[in-house]
Symmetry: C2
Subunit: 111 residues, 2 copies
């Protein structure tokens, strides 16, 4: 849980959600040092959220969906009695947002 509380690590995870990338390719996408990204990858590794494939000097990372099972279980148990509720909340929030946007459109003059 601590592993995913860091925004940068969530970005990294999303980046390697579908396709694997080498550590260098991941680091290139960010404006921080290679070492910093490597540290984040270590955290994700220790948390079991990514899997690594060695190929020569390169290490290819990809998100480990199976490893996220415990995390999902945690989110479910800690947060909501049912994930259906969560989905409903998400949908309602989206509807509310659309409604608020429409209201703003009517009230405010052109900026």
């Amino acid at each position: 849980m601590k592993a995913i509380s860091e925004p940068r690590r969530r970005e990294i995870l999303r980046l390697i959600w579908d396709d694997e990338l080498s550590a260098g390719q991941i680091a290139d996408r960010f404006e921080v040092t290679f070492g910093a990204v490597s540290q984040h990858l270590k955290v994700l590794r220790d948390a079991g959220l990514v899997v690594v494939r060695k190929d020569g000097t390169k290490r290819y990372y990809v998100a480990d969906r199976a490893g996220m099972g415990p995390l999902a279980a945690y989110l479910e148990s800690m947060w909501l009695s049912s994930l259906d509720t969560l989905a409903a909340l998400a949908e309602q929030a989206q509807r509310d947002e659309v409604r608020r946007a429409a209201a703003r459109e009517l009230e405010e003059p052109e900026p």
Copy 2:
């Protein structure tokens, strides 16, 4: 999201998930100062995750499920393409845990 990354705030939220409690009652459940809890409550308030009801000098807090809609939407968009996937992951993790527990039962002698 930052609001719920703090373990203590998650505990507080769970505490007032179903029933409302006064700030004092909440603080009594923890070993930290009243002020510290009050600060956490402020964060939760600013994040729109709780609602407050004033009664005399007391303030009763309860989790605001509607206010968690945006959070749910965020989790959904950032994390998984579908919450069904998350539910499936949670279930599989639970099955795996049961299986591992059974394996340990067979392998290890009595402690």
